[in-house]
Structure formats: structure tokens, C-alpha cells
């Protein structure tokens, strides 16, 4: 825990209105001894003084409340930095020397300990945990917040359900500092699901005071005004421009953050973000394009962290409702025809992990795992010749315009190689707003690119979403009774159960044989730093500012 010396007075307060004036007076005295201008003189000085950290990102934060309808992915970082959960994940080092969250370890955040029983988990809250307004965090706040998450619908409710948190009656405030979750049935997913950004603990008194009859969950209020106990408060939010975090010095959830203030600035143009980072005007460039990451990797001033995104695979979907793809030899012909290495270099600039050329024998339960296919046009031709479509066929290859940066080069390279087999693929570009309906809901795209990634890092969780019949990310209309049984059996089973590994390996073998999805590569999240340390990769792919420091 490092805590740098704080600037005098007013900096800790809000930067608007009265405290701005207070700030001007305070810093005026120290910086210049004159009253009017010193805000400008003092702030850059403080920025140098290891107090402030500037982050640029191309994404827009559109709400400060994750539970709200329409809250986008970029806004999840607010839930991470501003609110606490009961528990969090630990930290581990990655092979390249960076930091990553550790899926294996669950650590306390608001709960100091928990007891796991057959039918419930009981959490004991930290006695000194308080919200920003000084009110102690109580079990009732937790209960109210969880009830909100399972009631408001949309993404939060779906994510809670993944951990079998469905009914408000499952949550019980036993006493002031004891909170109990009743389990519908035991699952290894419940505890990790309490560490994702969704089950945040909100100051229920503040929220209720701002709720209305039409809006019992204070969605309108919390959208603009967070009320939490987290490591940072939001002092300023200019939608579409910037978000300013200010450290909460009374944070009980973990080690106090190393910087006093974090400014997240939105800069849409990636070249500008890169220039800002290289010049050292900002300390972190979050989510760089693969191309910039590759080019900056050799830089001496800038450090690049490219972390393969856990449980996420870019893949080609072969739709079983399209007649040629019902033939196993056609599917294998396609798998051997894909120019994996070229795609990885062209579309991903070599960032991430290859998902081809793996061992044919399934020895481990590691996931994502490379499938045992590689580019081999002769074998592709053999398979096609054996199939019922030896003379080739025509197929549309669909991509989303919203994800064109990797989908378009990938599709072009696949198209080129399929042509060599006599399979005429025409590239069909679908607008981003239509993509989900066409690809995931109607599942009507014969051949398409897909990139599901699961937050909960278990292979059975991936198979649950992507291989079970009718499930959302099973865009290939794949249906196999054995997969159904195996996924149902393994989904909630503890990983140390002796039956777990054999069943998972069997799932892998089926996926490799049946090929509804052909893995291409595991994408990476690229982050560049210049003058900051402590960047940690998280599965939610958003900035966790709590461990950052200036260097």
C-alpha cells in the first residue's frame, strides 16, 4: 500500500461549484500566493507529483449504473472502481511479467469471511466498511442491492442467473453484518459470480431516498449519481468526454489505491491515443488496436501488455441447418482449408494465442485449447472429395460491420482458400445493429464469424452458452444429446470432482469431431502504459484503477 502525500485541502473535494472556489483559495496560497489563476498552475504540478493518472480510451461511458437498461460495456469500469462487491478475485503474475486477476482465488472485498454450507453461503461483512457518506455497510444494503440486480431485468439479471442467483427470497440479511445467500442447489459458479462487476453493493438508504413510485430501484438517480463504498468516487462526469475518479481514503475493501485521482478521457481516434501515450501526456492507453500494440511492443518508453482474453475464442461458425455443413467431411475440409497463420498475422497482428495445430489427443482440461487442425489444402481436398459435395457449393460468409476490424480480413482470407477447394463463399456484411438478431437469435447465417467469451472461466460455462441446443451463442444450431447431458452434469460440479475432467475431455473430443465452431485464435486485450505501473488484466476487459500507481 502506498499513499503519496496529498495536495492541500480542496483537491479532495468536488471540482465544481463551491469546492472549486475553495480549491482556488487553498492552492492559490501554496502555488502562487495570488488568487485567480492558480488552479491551472497547480494542477499540472500535481499531475507530476504522482497524484493524478490520465487514461485514454476509445470507448464511451454511458451510465454510472451497471444495472440500468442500455448501460454499455465501457461503463462496467464504474461498477468496478466505484462500488464494492462481497468478494473479489486475487492477483497473479502472467508469463510476460504483467499482472492478471486470479480466477482460482476468491479474496474478501466487503465480506471479511464466509462460511459455505450445503444449502447456503453466509457472509460476514467487514465491521469498518462504510459508504462514502459515512453510513456503515449493512447486510440490508447487500440484500437490497442483490434484489435489485435480479429484479431489474436485462443483463444484470441474466448474469446473476448464471450463478443460480434468481429469486429475491434467496437473499437474507441475518443481522446488521451477516448476510446469507440461500442456494437453489450447490454450484461452483455461485461464489465466482459474486465477484463479477454485477452484484455491487449500493447504499440503499441513499437510493431509496431518491426512488419514486415509477422508479422503485432509483435507476434515474443512480444513473448519474453513484452511491457506493468503493475505492474511488466520481467527482466529474462529462458524458462523451471524460470521467474523473477521486480516491476514497476510507476505503475498507482493499489496499488504498496508489493514485489520488484518475482521469479517464475519451479520444475516439486510435492514432491520437497512441501519440498521446508515446509523448507521455497520458499514462495509460486502454484497449489499443492490435496493430499499434505490435508496433509499440519494441518501444523503450511505452510498455505494452497483451493478455489473451480468458475463455474467449474468435471462431468460424458452420451452421448445421445449412445442408452441406451437415456432412462431417465438408466441415473438416473447411477446417483444413482455413489459412490460420495468415489470419493471425493479418487480422490480429500476432497478438493473442493461436487456436490451431494442437495435439490430437485431449490430455488436459485447459481451455481455450488449440484444435488439431492446420492449413493443409491436400487434406481439405481429400475430405471434400469423400463428402457428398465433391464439386463444391456456394455459401454466404457473414460478418458484422461492427466488428469489421478483425472479421473483414479474416473473411477475405478464408474466402480465398475456400475458392481453391471449389467452395464459392460470398462475403455478406451485416450492420452491427442487426448482427445479434441474425446471428444469435434467428441463427440463420450458414457460415459466419463469432467471438463468444465467458466471464466465468470454466470450459463447461463456455459449452453451456455456445454448444447447447438453442442457447444464445450456439449460432450453428448444433444439437447433440451427449453434449446436452455432459454440460448439464458438469456445469455446477466442482472441478475437483473426479468425474469432472473425463467429462470435460469428452466434450472437447466431441467439439473437435463435430466442428460446429472452428476456433481461429484467442484474442488479446492490449493496454499500453507510459509512466504507470500496476496495470492488471481482468476478465471484464475494463480498467481496474485500484492497483495503479505513477512511476
Amino acid at each position: 500500500m502506498t499513499q503519496s502525500k496529498t495536495l492541500p485541502g480542496g483537491f479532495a473535494g468536488s471540482l465544481t461549484g463551491a469546492s472549486r472556489r475553495r480549491f482556488l483559495q487553498m492552492s492559490g496560497a501554496t502555488a502562487l500566493g495570488a488568487g485567480v489563476l492558480p488552479f491551472l498552475k497547480a494542477l499540472p504540478a500535481s499531475a507530476q507529483a504522482a497524484e493524478t493518472l490520465v487514461v485514454v480510451t476509445g470507448q464511451t461511458i454511458n451510465s454510472l449504473d451497471l444495472h440500468r437498461t442500455g448501460t454499455n460495456r465501457a461503463s462496467y469500469q464504474v461498477a468496478v472502481n466505484v462500488y464494492d462487491r462481497l468478494v473479489s478475485f486475487g492477483t497473479k503474475e502472467t508469463p510476460d511479467g504483467g499482472l492478471s486477476y486470479d480466477y482460482e482465488t476468491i479474496v474478501p472485498e466487503l465480506a471479511e469471511s464466509w462460511d459455505i454450507a450445503e444449502d447456503s453461503i453466509t457472509f460476514h461483512l467487514k465491521p469498518d466498511a462504510t459508504f462514502w457518506d459515512g453510513k456503515p455497510v449493512t447486510a440490508e444494503d447487500v440484500r437490497w442491492s442483490f434484489e435489485r440486480a435480479v429484479t431489474v431485468g436485462g443483463f444484470p439479471t441474466v448474469q446473476m442467473k448464471a450463478g443460480l442467483l434468481v429469486e429475491p427470497s434467496q437473499f437474507e440479511a441475518v443481522d446488521e453484518k451477516t448476510f446469507r445467500v440461500k442456494l437453489l442447489h450447490p454450484s461452483k459458479l455461485t461464489l465466482p459470480d459474486l465477484a463479477v462487476p454485477v452484484p455491487i453493493v449500493i447504499n440503499s438508504e441513499v437510493a431509496k431516498a431518491n426512488a419514486t413510485a415509477d422508479d422503485p430501484w432509483a435507476m434515474e438517480y443512480l444513473h448519474q449519481n453513484p452511491a457506493g463504498s468503493g475505492a474511488f468516487k466520481v467527482t466529474r462526469w462529462d458524458p462523451g468526454q471524460q470521467l474523473v475518479y477521486e480516491r476514497n481514503d476510507d476505503w475498507a475493501g482493499g489496499p488504498l489505491p496508489g493514485v489520488k485521482r484518475v482521469i479517464v478521457r475519451e479520444v475516439p481516434n486510435p492514432s491520437n491515443r497512441r501519440a498521446l501515450l508515446e509523448r507521455g501526456d497520458v499514462q495509460i492507453n486502454f484497449d489499443l488496436p492490435n496493430k499499434d500494440a505490435q508496433e509499440l511492443a519494441e518501444s523503450e518508453t511505452v510498455s505494452i501488455f497483451s493478455t489473451p482474453i480468458e475463455n474467449c475464442i474468435h471462431c468460424v461458425g458452420l451452421n448445421y441447418s445449412f445442408e452441406p455443413f451437415q456432412d462431417p467431411d465438408v466441415r473438416k475440409a473447411v477446417a483444413y482449408a482455413i489459412p490460420y497463420a495468415d489470419i493471425f498475422q493479418t487480422a490480429a497482428y500476432g497478438r493473442g494465442a493461436p487456436m490451431w495445430g494442437g495435439d490430437a489427443a485431449v490430455e488436459t482440461t485447459d481451455w481455450p485449447r488449440p484444435f488439431p487442425y492446420e492449413t493443409d489444402l491436400d487434406r481439405a481436398r481429400e475430405h471434400l472429395a469423400k463428402s457428398g459435395f465433391a464439386s463444391g457449393f456456394e455459401v454466404p460468409l457473414s460478418i458484422s460491420l461492427g466488428l469489421a476490424d478483425w472479421m473483414e480480413p479474416t473473411a477475405l482470407l478464408i474466402q480465398e482458400n475456400l475458392a481453391k477447394l471449389g467452395i464459392a463463399a460470398t462475403i455478406e456484411k451485416i450492420p452491427g445493429a442487426n448482427w445479434r438478431t441474425a446471428c444469435l437469435v434467428e441463427k440463420r447465417l450458414p457460415m459466419h464469424l463469432e467471438n463468444f467469451g465467458g466471464w466465468l472461466n470454466y470450459p463447461c460455462y463456455y459449452f453451456f452458452w455456445a454448444y447447447k441446443e438453442g442457447h444464445l451463442f450456439n449460432s450453428s444450431n448444433y444439437a447433440n444429446p451427449e453434449v446436452e447431458t455432459l454440460v448439464d452434469e458438469t456445469l455446477h460440479m466442482p472441478t475437483d470432482n473426479p468425474e469432472y475432467a473425463p467429462k470435460i475431455k469428452r466434450l472437447f473430443e466431441i467439439a473437435i469431431e463435430d466442428l460446429p465452431r472452428i476456433p481461429l485464435w484467442q484474442p488479446a486485450l492490449n493496454v499500453g502504459t507510459n509512466g504507470a505501473t500496476g496495470y492488471e488484466y481482468w476478465f471484464h476487459r475494463q480498467l481496474d484503477a485500484r492497483g495503479l500507481e505513477r512511476s
Binding site: 488552479f39 442500455g70 479520444v267
Partner: protein, 340 residues
């Protein structure tokens, strides 16, 4: 004067059908866009029930006529709805972003006029001279370089290589606070507040984007000024003025230039409108929180309220702009009046 006021009012009245038309057309067009916003905003992992809830929350479960009646009702109360992609009321968003775009566009146009009009006049009065050639080079360069390219090139040279320009991250560097809001134009507001440090900060930020846009708008203004001046200079009244022995400045500026202003003003109106459109690229490059990038982002995700609000605001802006130009005509040339 009273006659003029009356005609202005009648002009405003004439604009009403245009606005009504815009309201109807944008409503129908946004609904005709591909994509289902409820599905989009429910998020990738949502199930049928939550999509249905969101559809109800957005009012999209009602029939189109019903939705239209509700929309018009809200509109009459001054409520443009809430943008789902930015999570803010459209009115708030427009009120904040429109001044940003206007400030940039107007600064660029002032800059552009300041260069283009004198240059055009010089080129016309001294055809074949260096000024004429410079005019031609500038015009060709300005038209042939796309704005995003000029913008990136300027950033590369003045920020990345030379370090002269401030960080290209919008209207103000993060070390400044927004000036107290009066007009929404930072340069004006900072000056009104007497906060010259912030004024200087805002001015430094606006230079590069304004120059980028100005380069783009230089060409038409310069060419039209030159052509109009050439025409005016060869007109009978100029020959008469010269024959009467008036001095060269009087001939050129009092008579020829005054008469050449009309086509220049017309062009300015057109340039202004397409510059607001061309802003999108410049806004994206310079992270300028303007109205163009707002509209494009909203369009991509079928954010109905934001798109409708944007189109409506632009329609009103152009009605006002055309009116202003018509009035400017009558001030410049008394022969032109409103037809009644």
C-alpha cells in the same frame, strides 16, 4: 422597418411546414432503419423476457401511429426523449454539443474568410500575379486533401513532432475547468468570466481543428470571391466610376466589392451547412465533443431519440440560417426585398 419585421415573421411561418415535414420524415426513416434497438440495448447475453421488458420500457411495443402521437406530444412539451446509447436526455446533449460544433465551425469560417476573401480580391484585381497563383494552389490543395488527413497530418507535425500544439483531446485540456456556462462557446464564456487563462487554453485547443476545417472551406469562398470580383470589376458601373476619376480603393472596395458580396454570402451559407456535416471527421480526429460524432454514433446503434433530435435541431438551424442570409441580402443590396 415594420415591413421587414412582418416579412421575417411570414418567413418564420413558412418554415413551419418544413419543420413538420422533417418531424414526420425522421420519425418514419429512423423506424425504417435496419436493426432492433431493444435487442441491441438488452446486451448480448439477454434473454427473450428481458428484451421484451426493454421493448416496453422504450415504448417500442406500441404500434407506429401510437408511437408517433406520443413522440409529437413529448416534442410539444420540449422533450426530445432520452438517448439510450449515451444515457442522457437528448435536449441536454444537444445543448452541450451544438455550441461545440458551432464554435468550431464559426471559428473555422472566420479564419477561412479572413484568408480567402482578401486573397480572392487580390487575385481578381491582379490576375496572373503571385496572389492569383497562391489562390489557385491553396484552392486545389484545400479541396483535394480530405479533412481527416489534414487533421492527422497537422497533429503529427505540430503535436507529435514539434510539440507546439496542445494535446488533441477535445475542447479543453484536463487541467482546465469548463468556464461558467453562458453561451456554451468556451471562448466567449471564458472571456465573459474574465478567465483569460482558460480562454487561452480553449483557444489553443481550437486552433488545429479550426485550421483543418478552414483549409477545407477555403476553396469555394476563394473561388467565388475571385469570380464575383472579376465580374463586378468588368461591370458598367465600375467603368463609370473609373471614368469619373474615383480613386482605385473607392472603386474596388466601395463599388466592386460591395456588389461582389452577394454570391459570397450565398456561398458562405452553403459552406456553413456542409462544414457542419464535414465536422464529423474532424470531431473524431480531435476528440471534439460535437454534434456530428453524436449523430453518427447514434445512427450506428439505431438510437431513435438521438437521431430524431439531431435532425430536428439541424432543420431548425438551417431554417434560421436561410432566414439570416435572406436578411443579409436586403442589407447588402437594397434592390432585393422580400416578395409579399
Amino acid at each position: 422597418m415594420a415591413g421587414r419585421l412582418k416579412t421575417i415573421l411570414s418567413r418564420v411561418a413558412q418554415a413551419a411546414p418544413v419543420v413538420v415535414g422533417v418531424v414526420i420524415v425522421t420519425f418514419v426513416l429512423t423506424r425504417a432503419l435496419p436493426g432492433d434497438p431493444a435487442v441491441y440495448f438488452a446486451g448480448a447475453a439477454a434473454d427473450e423476457a428481458s428484451i421484451a421488458e426493454i421493448r416496453t420500457a422504450l415504448g417500442l411495443d406500441k404500434s407506429l401511429p401510437e408511437q408517433f402521437v406520443l413522440y409529437v406530444g413529448d416534442l410539444l412539451r420540449g422533450d426530445l426523449g432520452e438517448s439510450i446509447s449515451t444515457g442522457q436526455p437528448v435536449v441536454t446533449e444537444l445543448a452541450r454539443r451544438l455550441p461545440a460544433s458551432l464554435e468550431l465551425t464559426l471559428t473555422a469560417l472566420l479564419l477561412s474568410c479572413g484568408v480567402a476573401i482578401p486573397l480572392g480580391v487580390l487575385a481578381a484585381t491582379r490576375p496572373g500575379s503571385w496572389a492569383d497563383h497562391l489562390c489557385r494552389v491553396l484552392v486545389t490543395a484545400g479541396v483535394s486533401l480530405p479533412t481527416f488527413f489534414t487533421g492527422l497530418a497537422l497533429i503529427y507535425v505540430f503535436y507529435y513532432l514539434l510539440g507546439l500544439a496542445p494535446t488533441p483531446i477535445g475542447r479543453l485540456d484536463f487541467i482546465y475547468l469548463e468556464p461558467p456556462r453562458v453561451t456554451g462557446f468556451f471562448l466567449v464564456d471564458a472571456a465573459l468570466a474574465g478567465d483569460w487563462e482558460t480562454w487561452w487554453g480553449a483557444a489553443r485547443q481550437i486552433v488545429l481543428p479550426a485550421v483543418t476545417l478552414a483549409l477545407f472551406t477555403l476553396a469555394p469562398i476563394c473561388r467565388i470571391t475571385r469570380a464575383a470580383m472579376l465580374q463586378a470589376l468588368s461591370a458598367d458601373f465600375v467603368r463609370t466610376a473609373r471614368a469619373a476619376g474615383l480613386t482605385r480603393p473607392t472603386v474596388i472596395y466601395r463599388y466592386a466589392f460591395h456588389n461582389a458580396m452577394l454570391p459570397v454570402i450565398t456561398t458562405l451559407g452553403m459552406v456553413f451547412s456542409f462544414t457542419l456535416g464535414a465536422n464529423v471527421l474532424v470531431e473524431k480526429v480531435f476528440a471534439w465533443p460535437g454534434i456530428g460524432s453524436y449523430a453518427v454514433d447514434a445512427l450506428v446503434v439505431s438510437d431513435y431519440a438521438a437521431v430524431q433530435g439531431f435532425v430536428l435541431a439541424m432543420a431548425l438551424l438551417f431554417v434560421a440560417l436561410n432566414l439570416a442570409i435572406d436578411i443579409a441580402y436586403t442589407l447588402i443590396d437594397p434592390r432585393i426585398g422580400f416578395e409579399n
